[in-house]
C-alpha cells in the first residue's frame, strides 16, 4: 500500500484502460483503450465533450472506479486488483477530491467539514483542529471556520472544499470542474489557489474542465474524444 514508484516510474499510469457500462446490446463503451502517464508534480487539465470519457477516466484515476480492461497503476499498485476497502484506503492516504458542486456537509461548520478526512485517519481532536485551521488559513479562509456552507459564498465554499482535500497532504488532488459553478472572477481565484498548491507543495493536480481559460493554468492539457485520448499537449502554463 505504501509502495512508492521506483525512480523513473510515473505516479499514475493507465495501460490500455477500457470501461464498459451495462451488458449485451445495451452495453456502452465509455473508454476504448486509454494509455496515459502522469508524473508526480504535474498540473494536468482534462478536456473533452460530455460522453468523451473524461469523467470516467477521472473516476478511475481517483480510485472510485475500476477499469473493465487494461491496467491502472497508481504508485505502481495495480488498482484494478484492489477491493472497495483497499481503494478507500488509497483515497484516504493519497488522494484529495474537489467537486463542481462543492459537496460540503450542510449544517456542518467549515472547520468540521475540513476535519472530516482527518477523522477517518484517526487523528486526535487537538491535531484535527490545528491541521484544519491551518488548511483553512492556507486557502485564505482564516477565521471563517465556524460558518456553515450556507453562510458562505460559492467561492468560499469551494475554498473550504479545497482545504478539505489538502488537509491530509495528499499526493494527488482531483478536481472535477472545480470552477463550473463559479463566476469568472472567482474561478480565477480558485485557479490561482490550485496553481499555488501545485507549485508550492508539489501536489499533483488533475482537473477536468470545459473552459479553455481555466485549462490554460495547467502545464499539460489532455483532450478526450470517443473514449480515447485525442491529444496530449504541454503548454507553458500561466501559473
Amino acid at each position: 500500500m505504501t509502495a512508492t514508484p521506483p525512480p523513473g516510474e510515473p505516479l499514475i499510469a493507465l495501460r490500455g484502460v477500457t470501461k464498459t457500462y451495462g451488458q449485451g446490446q445495451a452495453a456502452f463503451q465509455a473508454l476504448r483503450g486509454v494509455d496515459l502517464s502522469i508524473e508526480a508534480g504535474e498540473f494536468v487539465a482534462i478536456m473533452g465533450p460530455s460522453g468523451s470519457g473524461k469523467s470516467t477516466t477521472m473516476n478511475i484515476m481517483g480510485c472510485l472506479d475500476v477499469p473493465s480492461g487494461g491496467s491502472y497503476l497508481f504508485r505502481n499498485i495495480p488498482v484494478e486488483r484492489l477491493d472497495r476497502n483497499q481503494r478507500a484506503l488509497l483515497r484516504r492516504h493519497y488522494l484529495g477530491f474537489v467537486f463542481q458542486g462543492f459537496n460540503l456537509l450542510a449544517r456542518t461548520s467549515a472547520q468540521e467539514n475540513v476535519e472530516l478526512p482527518l477523522l477517518y485517519r484517526g487523528e486526535s481532536a487537538a491535531s484535527r483542529h490545528a491541521l484544519a485551521r491551518e488548511a483553512l488559513a492556507s486557502v485564505g479562509l482564516a477565521g471563517v471556520g465556524h460558518h456553515t456552507p450556507a453562510e458562505l459564498s460559492g467561492g468560499q465554499q469551494q475554498r473550504v472544499a479545497i482545504a478539505r482535500a489538502i488537509v491530509t497532504r495528499p499526493a494527488v488532488l482531483l478536481a472535477d470542474e472545480p470552477t463550473g459553478n463559479l463566476d469568472t472572477h472567482t474561478s480565477r481565484e480558485i485557479m490561482e489557489l490550485l496553481t499555488g498548491l501545485n507549485r508550492d507543495r508539489g501536489i499533483t493536480v488533475l482537473m477536468v474542465t470545459h473552459e479553455p481559460e481555466m485549462a490554460a493554468y495547467a502545464h499539460r492539457v489532455i483532450h478526450f474524444r470517443d473514449g480515447r485520448v485525442a491529444s496530449d499537449e504541454r503548454n507553458g502554463g500561466t501559473g
Partner: protein, 402 residues
C-alpha cells in the same frame, strides 16, 4: 473514532428533534409498557403473598364438598360435627388449634344504623388460627362459649359502619330478634387475597349461632392451625385420613370434603397473576417490535436523504464498516434513548398505578436492565439493514444523487 461517531449520531438526532422523538415514541411506549406490566405484576404477586401470609402460613381450611370457589358443590356433602373438630384436636399431635365455624349472613343494627355482614360462630381457637389480635375488649370466656351467650367480637369495618367514633365495647347490637353485647374489637387486617374485606366480620360463640341463627348442630368449616415446625403436608394427610374414617368413606370413594393449605392458595393465586403478567408483557413486547420497525423506516429515509453525505464520506476514504458503524450507532442511540425515556416513564407510571391499585411498588432492576438492553438490541437489529445499505452505496452514484 467510536466517540466521534457517537457525537455525530447525537448531533444528527438533535437536528431532527421532532422526527427523532416520533421515531423513538414506539420504543418508549413499548419499554414503558413492558416494565410497567411486569412491575405491577410483581407488586400484585407480592401483595397476594403478604395477604395470604396474614392468614397464617400454617393454616388448613377444611370444607365439605370437593371444589372451592364459584360453583362449589357442597349440596351432597354432609356438614361437620363439633365432635369432628374435637377428634382432630385430640388425635393429631401436629395440630395446634381447631376452630369449627358456621356462618350466616344477617343484618346487625345499632341505634339507627344497620349493616349486613356475615356472622361467624366459632370458638376462641378462631382468633388463634386466623392470627387475629384484639384491639380492645376480650375474647369469649368459657361460660359464654358453653352457654351460647349473646356476646360478639366485631371487626373494624363493622365498628366503623355502626359506631362511627364511638367505642363499641360494652354496647349492645341487635341481631334478628336478640340483643348481643360487643365484648371485643379486632385489629384491622385489610383486604384478603380474594379481594374481600376481612374486617367485615362479627364473631359469636359457636353455640350462640347454632341455637339462635342456624338452628342446627352443623358446622360448615374447620380452620386448623398446625404447630410451628410440624410438617403441614403430614398434618394435612392425617386430617384427611381421620375425616374419611369419621365420615365413613370407603377406600374406593372420593373425599366429600376438601382441605386447602395457605401455601396452595398462594401458589394458585400468584400462578394466575404470573400468567396475566406474562400475557400483558408479551403484548407490550409486540409494541417494542413495532417500535423497531419504526426505527428501521426512519433510518432508511435518513440513508436516502443523506446519500450525498455518504458519497462524500466514501470518496474521502471511509471504509464500508465505518459508514455501517455510523448508521448503526445512530440507530442504537435512537433506540437506547427510547429505552431510557421508556424506563423513566415506566417508573412514574408504575409508582402511580401501584398506589392506585393498592399494590406495593417494587423496583425490579432485572426488567429495567433487560428492557434497556432489548431496546438497544432492537436498534442493532433494525438499524443493520439501513446501515448496510448506506455502506454499500457506490460513491460515484451517491455523489451524483440529488
Amino acid at each position: 473514532m467510536l466517540w466521534n461517531t457517537l457525537l455525530l449520531a447525537l448531533r444528527s438526532i438533535r437536528r431532527n428533534l421532532m422526527r427523532s422523538f416520533l421515531t423513538i415514541l414506539g420504543i418508549v411506549i413499548g419499554v414503558a409498557a413492558v416494565i410497567t406490566m411486569v412491575t405491577l405484576g410483581n407488586g400484585a404477586t407480592q401483595a397476594i403473598a403478604d395477604q395470604v401470609a396474614s392468614l397464617g402460613s400454617n393454616l388448613l381450611i377444611v370444607r365439605p364438598g370437593q371444589r372451592l370457589g364459584p360453583g362449589s358443590d357442597t349440596a351432597g356433602a354432609p356438614n361437620f360435627r363439633l365432635a369432628d373438630a374435637e377428634a382432630i384436636a385430640e388425635q393429631i399431635s401436629a395440630v395446634q388449634a381447631v376452630a369449627p365455624t358456621v356462618s350466616r349472613g344477617v343484618t346487625v343494627v345499632y341505634g339507627a344504623r344497620n349493616w349486613s355482614t356475615p356472622i361467624t360462630g366459632s370458638t376462641n381457637a378462631w382468633f388463634q388460627t386466623g392470627k387475629w389480635t384484639l384491639a380492645s375488649g376480650r375474647p369469649f370466656n368459657e361460660a359464654e362459649e358453653r352457654g351460647g351467650k349473646a356476646v360478639c367480637v366485631i371487626g373494624e369495618t363493622v365498628r366503623r359502619e355502626l359506631f362511627g367514633e364511638q367505642s363499641p365495647v360494652g354496647q349492645n347490637l341487635r341481631v334478628k330478634n336478640f340483643s348481643c353485647e360487643v365484648i371485643g374489637l379486632l385489629v384491622s387486617k385489610g383486604q384478603s387475597a380474594f379481594g374481600s374485606d376481612q374486617d367485615d366480620v362479627v364473631v359469636m360463640p359457636l353455640r350462640t349461632v347454632q341455637r339462635r341463627l342456624t338452628g342446627t348442630q352443623d358446622i360448615t368449616g374447620l380452620r386448623i392451625s398446625v404447630r410451628e415446625g410440624a410438617s403441614i403436608d403430614q398434618a394435612k394427610k392425617q386430617v384427611v385420613l381421620l375425616l374419611r374414617e369419621r365420615r365413613g368413606i370407603t377406600p374406593n370413594e372420593d373425599d366429600n370434603f376438601s382441605v386447602l393449605d395457605t401455601r396452595q392458595i398462594t401458589e394458585t393465586l400468584s400462578g394466575t397473576t404470573r400468567v396475566m403478567t406474562t400475557l400483558l408483557g408479551a403484548v407490550a413486547a409486540v409494541s417494542l417490535l413495532v417500535g423497531g420497525i419504526g426505527i428501521m423506516n426512519i433510518m432508511l429515509v435518513s440513508v436516502t436523504e443523506r446519500t450525498r453525505e455518504i458519497g462524500i464520506r466514501l470518496a474521502i476514504g471511509a471504509l464500508e464498516r465505518e459508514v455501517l458503524l455510523q448508521f448503526l450507532i445512530e440507530a442504537v442511540v435512537l433506540s437506547s434513548l427510547g429505552g431510557l425515556v421508556g424506563i423513566l416513564l415506566a417508573t412514574g407510571a408504575s409508582i402511580g398505578l401501584a398506589q392506585l391499585m393498592k399494590v406495593p411498588y417494587i423496583f425490579n432492576l432485572g426488567i429495567n436492565l433487560l428492557a434497556f438492553l432489548f431496546s438497544a438490541a432492537i436498534g442493532v437489529i433494525f438499524g443493520f439493514f439501513p446501515a448496510r445499505r448506506a455502506a454499500r452505496l457506490d460513491p460515484i452514484e451517491a455523489l451524483r444523487h440529488e
